[in-house]
Symmetry: C2
């Protein structure tokens, strides 16, 4: 006998976890589609040369790689951005630009599991490729906003910045040329704190203590909860950046981004300019964005992204700028669990139909079909066990309603509609294709 077990770093999703996970995915799909983002899919396996050298030395090391049956060196994708780059380079002629796509798919990384990380996780990315337009940046913010709201979050903050503003500020501080190293250090602010970041800047970016202090001071600029916070910061940044072409362009862009988002209806407290947001990845060149839950700031950003200049430069000469973000599905699921935003149920159906008048199988089946045709989701218990046992199963799974119909009820043409949460029940007429049952079930579900 073989021991049934999953690999270290991998997990099973039983219904109790998978039901809300599917609900989040459906919400993401609905929101993405409402902006005209279209789904694509790409293979889990790619030629190894497509995947290596695209992320960091770490992602290269974590890559699941092997030789396939045809002697080809292959790897399992570690994100959805590299496959997107390969995909657009290959197909952009047929797709046309702008190309707005979402992809919801698993990725694999042989990570150190001691940090609580999984080696297989699902990413939900959306990107607009082939345009430098401010509109695409604004829409990225709007999509994140609609996503969080649709999932039931009320208290969240989207923090935006622009890499060009950071570059301009560093120019002014005499740190041009060290931008990359400074930003990577700054990105660690929530993890290692101000002193740690300062030390790293001095060490790896050869910044002076004074320069490091100034960078950190700038990074402390972020729109507080005041409705005018963002405007105030824009005002404070202006003199600091004056003279840097790069910085001024970034600042103008941020101003327009905030105005456009506001015009589209985003409340001021949901969108905050935050100069400390740098995103560690080198490829971001314009807007950068992170999203925090006000009640769970420690879990980190649940939706992050930004603008990049040239997505597919390794695969095509065509310059393809773009902007997008990635929803952290599993992090969000954990957050929703902690904030009690999830309905607890191990069933996808709301109506439970016990089976105990053995001779009436056809009648039960007919009724269940009628109720399904009316839009209800109905589980019919497959065995004629004692009613108590069957209701125990229904309660454990989290059904909302049970329809109790025994020999007597069939004789009388009636059905007991049981509210499983309240423990109450009403008797209704079963005829007319079960329409009375449908109404009573809907009444219980709406209550």
């Amino acid at each position: 006998m073989i021991q049934p077990r999953t690999l270290k770093g991998f997990r099973d999703y039983p219904p109790a976890t998978m039901i809300p996970r599917e609900a989040i995915i459906e919400t993401a799909q609905r929101v993405y589609r409402s902006y005209g983002f279209s789904p694509i899919d790409t293979p889990a396996l790619e030629y190894l040369e497509i995947l290596t050298g695209k992320g960091s030395a770490e992602t290269d090391k974590q890559l699941y790689r092997f030789e396939d049956h045809g002697g080809r060196l292959v790897g399992m994708r570690f994100d959805l951005t590299v496959p997107l780059a390969r995909f657009v380079a290959q197909h952009i002629g047929q797709l046309g630009i702008p190309f707005k796509r979402y992809q919801i798919a698993n990725v694999w990384r042989g990570e150190n599991t001691q940090r609580g990380r999984y080696r297989e996780f699902r990413q939900c990315d959306f990107d607009t490729v082939g345009t430098n337009s401010l509109v695409a940046d604004i829409e990225t913010i709007l999509v994140i906003h609609d996503l969080l709201q649709s999932l039931g979050f009320e208290r969240f903050t989207i923090r935006v910045n622009n890499r060009r503003v950071l570059t301009g500020l560093l120019d002014q501080l005499g740190l041009r040329g060290q931008t990359g190293t400074v930003l990577r250090a700054l990105d660690k602010l929530p993890k290692i704190g101000a002193e740690g970041v300062a030390a790293e800047m001095v060490r790896s970016a050869k910044a002076s203590d004074e320069q490091a202090r100034q960078v950190l001071q700038l990074a402390s600029l972020h729109g507080e909860t005041s409705p005018h916070g963002n405007t105030e910061i824009l005002g404070q940044l202006e003199p600091l950046i004056a003279g840097s072409e790069e910085g001024e362009a970034g600042l103008a862009h941020l101003t327009q981004l905030l105005a456009g988002s506001q015009a589209a209806g985003i409340a001021a407290h949901h969108l905050q300019l935050d100069i400390s947001i740098a995103r560690g990845l080198d490829y971001y060149t314009g807007m950068v964005v992170e999203t925090f839950l006000d009640d769970l700031p420690k879990i980190g950003s649940v939706c992050s992204g930004g603008r990049y200049d040239n997505l597919a430069l390794l695969y095509t000469k065509q310059q393809l700028p773009g902007v997008g973000a990635s929803l952290g599905l599993d992090r969000l699921l954990a957050a929703m669990e902690e904030l009690d935003l999830l309905e607890e149920a191990s069933t996808t159906a709301e109506v439970f139909l016990p089976y105990f008048a053995a001779e009436h199988l056809g009648d039960y089946l007919r009724l269940a079909s009628q109720l399904r045709a009316a839009g209800l989701r109905v589980e019919f218990y497959p065995e004629t066990k004692k009613l108590g046992k069957q209701l125990q199963y229904a309660n454990r799974k989290g059904f909302r309603v049970a329809l109790v119909i025994g020999e007597d009820e069939f004789m009388a043409g009636q059905c007991q509609v049981k509210d499983l949460a309240q423990g109450t029940s009403r008797t209704v007429d079963m005829r007319e294709s079960g329409s009375n049952i449908v109404n009573e079930v809907k009444r219980v579900l709406d209550a």
Copy 2:
């Protein structure tokens, strides 16, 4: 520069293919849930020992396998049944029985691509584990029926049989003991024809010519389009099977299965008893089912499955019988394409909003948000190109409606709602949160 390409046997799904694919998956989810099947997910990678020796020598050979970073021998799942077996063996204590699950996920097989097969494909399985009940068998038929109907198919036939009936018939013909080989030969009937099957039975099952002829004669029994076809066959089988306990039990089960399905509302022409349906796989022990599209019989079964006695016997001592089926997603997609059941579109949004009054960015964004809040899916073009260019993009992608609002329209508070298919357009008032636009768009979409 690296050449952007996919591995042999793997494919990209651009929006035009992925949009209908997602629609089929959503339909499958909706139908599965309407019967109380709950989603689960399992890792793409499993310990190699979990996967090997479960299918055939061929699946073992086709397995993608390698050594992971920790020196473990691992493999990529080649179906969803072996992971289900491992999953229930591991978790059945917490899950309880009956356990009704669906899983929609990719599987990988290093197949010979010359036969037009892909090496990565998505399976959509549903199973009821832990019960021998007839109800679960009937529901399998009902789910397949509802699936096909919900996808828009009107002409399809679900063909059912019972392995025990076949065993009983073979008993009577003196072929007990050769059941497996005979059934595997019989399963090839659509591929190699009657003579081929007869030859294989004589060769591999050591049947006499006369026995082979009799088996084929029995296999020709199937309920024709006549509404009494199934009843007639049951009548013809009775004397042939009399005396075989196994066969009689199978026949009684088939009789009940047909009656129950009929009670639940399945039209006679959608369900046909067909003695030639054997399913090649050894593990089926009771009902077996295949589903054919009447207009495309040659593509083979689009949804197949059956009952098995012991799902997880390699991983646990607990006997777990079950029944289920698997929807052939990609085969179905190809069929829908051929039968013109797919809407052709490369966009998920129905409304296109061109951007050409550059100064009105905020107004466009506000309107788009209002329309989305009213449930419309709206793509706003990100650049102020010429209107003609933008409408060309909209037509190519398959948008249904364009909202044309230029400087003049903004001044007048009006919007041109353009029906892109008809080429007609109406002018409506833009105020009141765009409610007139919403109504006009809905009118066009419903037309």
